[in-house]
């Protein structure tokens, strides 16, 4: 009867109970005694006790029994759970776990210590007998009790259960089950009966009555019987007979009064001498040989469970009161399947998908020829996809499986180490393939232990360091870019790099020389060296010096990556990056060159089609795309992967690029665009691991098989950026060498232009840096004063200008209701420019044509995206609008012999200023950047320098500082200009020793400044020329 299958079920069930127990115990510690968790614990140990008793695993039963008794007192409110008690409960649970795994050898495991410590909670008298060895309690004691009903002899009696049951109004029954009649012929096992009893009431004990067997000869024929003692709420023997389907004479009701008397007289547990475990098991073995056990395969088991449930619910009263009924039936909802079977299933499912795809392809050709074929294939198509998906899912498991035990580990460790540690876990629902989950368990446990042991300080140390007494550890798991990242963070003492280095040198792991040059990051890496342990005192928790290098090896074996960040006294963060191997991720299938790739959708934010308005531009050697208000660095997949065979055909490549797509990716909060030339489909792909050869390329995170059966590489976003950055650096380095001049000129001439229309077809451009803001206004908001229009803006009136009133441009026939007003900055008195339509902003190099289109307010014309654009000269426009404020009344004649150097990197400003300054000075030269200016200053004599503060290569401040140090140049007056941050720059430039600070765009103030500077600083010079 006690067949391996049954014991397997026992092991599985007990395991589940024990697993359910632990979190409840921890829960109980936190939130003081929640009755539900107490019940769960009680039911768990009770059930283990019951079934172990049934199988005769006495050690398991003994321990679970004592646990149950203690828990019963807690449930009654006679005991309050405290830390000590939960400790011992947890330890006992661990012991049970060990024993349950191999119940047959469970007797070899010592449990005396746990039992003794548990009994302390039970207090004096009640427990002595339970503690003593079973053999010591013998038949004589039962006989002594006298009052015990005859039917109960041979049973091991538990006064607690009996008392509890009687107290709840239970009746006590003994039933006899005959092996052949009730078990063999009904095709049931004693365990079935046991389960049934559990569902109706409380199982107390059971034994086989071997008295009928006199020798081996009659063992086969003898009516072996199994006696069960149990308590139930069912009120009469005939109910029992009907439930168990046994004749009435096999049911014996026990006289409660007699039992009560016995409980009072001797509440010890009685173990009849005739029933030692050895005998029990021996005879059981014999039993199996004698009559083959009824088929007890899992299916049978499940089938049996179902009707039993119905039976039980037919007795509503029973169901409600019985504790055993409440036992969750989880076991019925899951089926245990060997992983190898799942692997096979998955491979088969994969192959089926491929066959399906082939079938679909054939059906496309011949489908019309066969009636109904298309429908069938379509159906099969769906089913196959569905099945495939489900099969894949069977292998995925949430991280919770391994993470949940960490609460316990941290708790035990904090006790042991005298620390107070709070562990927070996030991302338990992140799913990973089973194989990874399993392989991750040990390394993670080690890391958590390390954190508790080495990372977090003792409460006293923490307090001394001004931290809270309790240390915090956080474990966060999340998906990042097709990978799973697990961070383990603490706010502990951090890694001491000096200590690490010292130790490593002592141990001969590194040389003192290499320690000198080590970066912090490299120093952290020391802990991964084999044979290194940092704890000054090696504890049994961690620090055997085998740990971290094993952790790293294991993580790397999984295709993962481990990284440490730490700050001394602040904390440590260890990040594990793991591939999703075999996990399923949604991905976008894209084409680059002739090949297809899968891009994980986790990082994908949007897709933009290149071409038309979305043109990529070249900024400082990097291709970018203007996407709304931000610039997006573009990375061309073909370039990165060297897929472009003929890279030399640059213009051609550019053409191609413009009809591609940009995948806007987000990586660690940084956006960039991945350029591909084809966009296919989004598919759920199964990530397969890379072989060692393929891992050498950092740009792939895995490989997958697409729906059409083709293999596609999965792009590793982080890897791609890495490669791209490298190649960009190469490119930059190259250009510095070869085409420095040309390229930098081009780059620095880049301007941001705002394109707008003034109703007509003409396209106008204005430098974006001169626009303070753009207001959207209605015609009705504009007030007319005299002939001039004004707009009330934040309490201030601003004069408006219609470009056609002053400039030689088309006059719109009627003004629309909706208008835009461009408010310029960097001017003395802002005048709003009216526009009817804002077209776009572009970043471009303006090739200004000053001759073709000329007139007031026009700087020149240029072509942007093949359209003619009129570049507006705000300066001359305003001059025309408001001569009083803007027109320069006085002309400076007396500087006509002097030379000026204008340093300005912005072509737009340069153009405007040059024209005007040329009227004042004899010669005006310009420099595009600080270095250029410095060279020019050394080559030629200048009498004044006007420089922008923010310059490439050498900024205005640096240029001034250099000049002031030079004997020849120190006396030259410098005027600073700035396009923004006027207040700050004015102050800074004064401090730096500039003679004057100017805002751009004001002719009049520029003129005044020049005059003032000359008069004040070099009176000699000016006097000479006056």
């Amino acid at each position: 009867m006690v067949d391996d299958e049954l014991i397997d079920i026992f092991i599985q069930e007990s395991r589940e109970h024990l697993e359910a127990l632990e979190p409840e115990l921890l829960e109980m510690e936190n939130a003081s005694s929640d009755s539900e968790s107490i019940n769960t614990i009680f039911r768990g140990v009770h059930s283990i006790k019951g079934s172990s008793g049934f199988f005769g695993f006495d050690q398991i039963m003994k321990l679970s029994h004592v646990m149950e008794n203690v828990m019963a007192l807690v449930r009654e409110g006679e005991l309050t759970p405290n830390r000590e008690m939960i400790d011992i409960f947890l330890e006992s649970t661990d012991k049970l776990k060990i024993m349950v795994e191999s119940p047959q050898t469970s007797t070899e495991i010592p449990i005396e210590d746990e039992v003794k410590r548990l009994e302390v909670f039970l207090g004096g008298t009640s427990t002595e007998n339970a503690a003593s060895a079973p053999a010591a309690d013998n038949q004589a004691e039962v006989d002594d009790s006298g009052a015990l009903p005859e039917a109960l002899s041979g049973f091991k009696l538990d006064p607690y259960i009996l008392k509890d049951a009687i107290g709840h109004g239970h009746l006590v029954f003994v039933i006899d089950l005959y092996m052949i009649r009730d078990i063999k012929e009904k095709n049931r096992t004693p365990y079935d009966y046991f389960k049934e009893i559990e569902s109706l009431g409380e199982f107390v004990d059971a034994y086989f009555d071997f008295s009928v067997i006199t020798g081996l000869e009659d063992a086969l024929e003898a009516e072996l019987k199994c006696r069960f003692l149990f308590t139930t709420v069912m009120g009469s023997p005939d109910m029992i007979t009907s439930v168990f389907d046994i004749p009435e004479d096999q049911v014996h009701e026990i006289d409660l009064e007699a039992l009560k008397g016995w409980i009072k007289s001797d509440p010890g547990t009685h173990m009849p001498a005739s029933r030692t475990e050895e005998v029990f098991l021996e005879v059981v073995d014999e039993e199996i040989e004698e009559e083959p056990a009824p088929q007890a395969e899992p299916e049978v088991e499940v089938e049996a469970a179902a009707p039993q449930k119905e039976e039980a619910s037919a007795e509503p009263a029973t169901a409600k009161t019985s504790l055993a009924r409440q036992k969750s039936k989880k076991a019925d909802e899951t089926v245990r399947v060997p992983v190898s079977l799942l692997n096979d299933l998955m491979n088969l499912a994969g192959e089926m998908v491929l066959s399906r795809n082939q079938l679909v392809r054939v059906a496309e050709k011949y489908g019309q020829d066969v009636n109904g074929l298309e429908g069938i294939i379509q159906n099969m198509n769906l089913i196959t996809s569905d099945m495939h998906e489900r099969v894949m899912q069977t292998r995925l498991q949430p991280l919770a499986i391994i993470l949940s035990k960490f609460h316990r580990i941290i708790r035990d460790l904090s006790n042991k180490l005298g620390k107070e540690i709070v562990l927070e876990i996030e991302g338990e629902d992140v799913e990973l393939d089973k194989s990874i989950i399993e392989a991750l368990s040990d390394p993670l446990t080690h890391l958590i232990r390390n954190t508790a042991d080495h990372g977090i300080e003792t409460p006293d140390e923490r307090e001394a360091a001004g931290k809270t007494r309790e240390g915090h550890a956080r474990l966060v798991a999340r998906h990042v870019g097709g990978q799973v990242v697990i961070d383990i963070m603490d706010d502990g003492r951090g890694l001491n790099t000096e200590k690490l280095k010292k130790k490593a040198i002592e141990k001969g792991l590194i040389t003192p020389e290499s320690a000198e040059t080590m970066s912090d990051k490299q120093a952290f890496g020391i802990i991964f060296l084999p044979g290194f342990s940092t704890a000054e005192q090696v504890s049994d928790v961690s620090g055997r010096g085998v740990g971290m290098d094993v952790v790293r090896t294991n993580i790397e074996k999984l295709g993962g990556f481990i990284d440490i960040e730490s700050e001394l006294g602040v904390g440590t963060k260890i990040s594990l990056k793991l591939p999703l191997t075999l996990a399923i991720i949604p991905a976008m299938i894209v084409g680059a060159g002739e090949r297809k790739f899968a891009v994980p959708q986790v990082n994908l934010e949007e897709v933009v089609r290149l071409g038309g308005k979305n043109q990529s531009e070249l900024v400082r050697g990097t291709r970018v795309l203007r996407l709304r208000e931000s610039l997006l660095t573009l990375i061309d997949l073909r370039e990165v992967l060297d897929l472009e065979e003929d890279a030399a055909a640059d213009s051609e490549a550019e053409d191609k690029e413009e009809d591609g797509y940009v995948l806007v990716m987000n990586l660690d909060n940084q956006q960039y665009g991945l350029v591909v030339n084809e966009l296919y489909d989004s598919e759920e792909i199964a990530v397969k691991p890379l072989s060692v050869y393929l891992k050498q390329a950092v740009c792939y995170s895995g490989v997958t098989i697409m729906g059409d059966g083709k293999v596609a590489m999965i792009i590793d976003i982080a890897g791609i950026t890495e490669i791209a950055n490298l190649s960009f650096e190469d490119m930059n380095a190259q250009s510095m060498d070869e085409t420095d001049e040309a390229l930098s000129t081009q780059n620095e001439d880049m301007e941001s232009l705002l394109l707008f229309k003034n109703e007509g077809f003409e396209l106008f451009a204005i430098n974006l840096s001169t626009v303070a803001r753009i207001e959207k206004v209605k015609m009705s908001d504009i007030e007319l004063v005299g002939e001039k229009e004004y707009l009330n803006l934040g309490g201030k009136s601003i004069e408006l200008v219609r470009m056609h009133d002053h400039m030689p441009v088309a006059t719109p026939e009627n003004s629309p209701e909706q208008l835009y007003v461009l408010i310029p900055k960097l001017v003395d008195r802002p005048i709003g420019i009216v526009a009817t339509q804002i077209v776009d902003t572009v970043e471009t190099v303006v090739d200004l044509d000053r001759d073709t289109i000329r007139g007031t307010g026009i700087l020149g014309s240029t072509f942007i995206s093949d359209s003619l654009v009129i570049v507006v000269d705000i300066y001359s426009l305003f001059e025309s609008v408001d001569p009083r404020s803007y027109k320069v009344t006085e002309t400076l004649e007396h500087f006509k012999t002097l030379n000026l150097l204008l340093v300005e990197n912005n072509a737009f400003f340069r153009n405007i200023q040059m024209a005007f300054l040329q009227d004042i000075f004899a010669e005006v030269d310009f420099a595009r950047n600080g270095l250029d200016a410095w060279e020019k200053l050394n080559d030629k004599d200048y009498h004044m320098v006007i420089t922008e503060l923010e310059l490439p290569s050498l900024n205005g401040f640096e240029l001034l500082a250099r000049a002031r140090k030079s004997e020849r140049l120190s006396a030259i007056p410098f005027i600073a200009t700035a396009g923004r941050n006027e207040q700050m720059n004015a102050q800074k430039s004064e401090e730096a020793g500039f003679n004057q600070f100017l805002m751009k765009f004001s002719k009049r103030s520029t003129q005044n400044a020049i005059k003032e500077v000359f008069e004040k600083n070099t009176p000699l010079l000016t006097n000479t020329h006056l």
Binding site: N347, A349, G350, E351, V353, L354, R595, L641, D642, L643, K688, P689, S691, V692, Y693, L694, Q696, A697, V698, C699, Y700, V703, T704, I705, G709, K710, V711, A712, M713, I723
Partner: protein, 158 residues
């Protein structure tokens, strides 16, 4: 198990071979060592295909002839499952690997006494990839040392 690269005959232990595949729909992969020809879909499994000629720095080979095929090797795990942790004297990889060869030869039984430990006379080949040479009736058979051929840490420069 023998096969040809160009006109020369090579051999590996048949126990290492999982199957021979004529499906050469190999997807090339960028940014990987040159001797990696690409990846192949073998009924739902991804096989990395090594261009053996390239790996052996063996110039004398035919270009994708109609006889070209892929010898798919067993993984170490499969070998262990089949033969136990045996003393097969050679090993493959934990990944699924295929060898791209020009032509498949016969399966021959070789007595170990017939295997000559290579004198370094065949200068075309790097000695570390060679396990031994067998003199057949009409030509030489070069037995490859798969564990070194497959080891990505070993370069193919002579």
């Amino acid at each position: 198990m023998t096969f040809y690269l160009g006109d020369d005959l090579f051999g590996i232990s048949i126990l290492m071979v999982r199957e021979i595949n004529q499906n050469l729909d190999i997807t090339p992969v960028a940014k990987v060592p040159e001797y990696v020809k690409g990846v192949l879909n073998l009924r739902g499994q991804v096989v990395t295909v090594m261009d053996l000629a390239n790996r052996l720095a063996y110039i004398d080979k035919e270009e994708n002839s109609e006889h070209s095929c892929c010898i798919v090797l067993k993984t170490n795990e499969e070998i262990e499952d089949n033969y136990g942790s045996s003393d097969l004297e050679d090993s493959t990889m934990n990944d699924k690997i295929g060898l791209y060869v020009d032509r498949i030869g016969d399966v021959l039984s070789i007595e170990s006494k017939d295997i000559l430990i290579t004198p370094n006379q065949d200068s075309k080949l790097d000695a570390k990839f060679v396990k031994g040479v067998v003199r057949l009736q009409d030509q030489l058979l070069v037995l490859l040392n798969l564990s070194t051929v497959l080891d990505p840490k070993i370069g193919n420069e002579s």
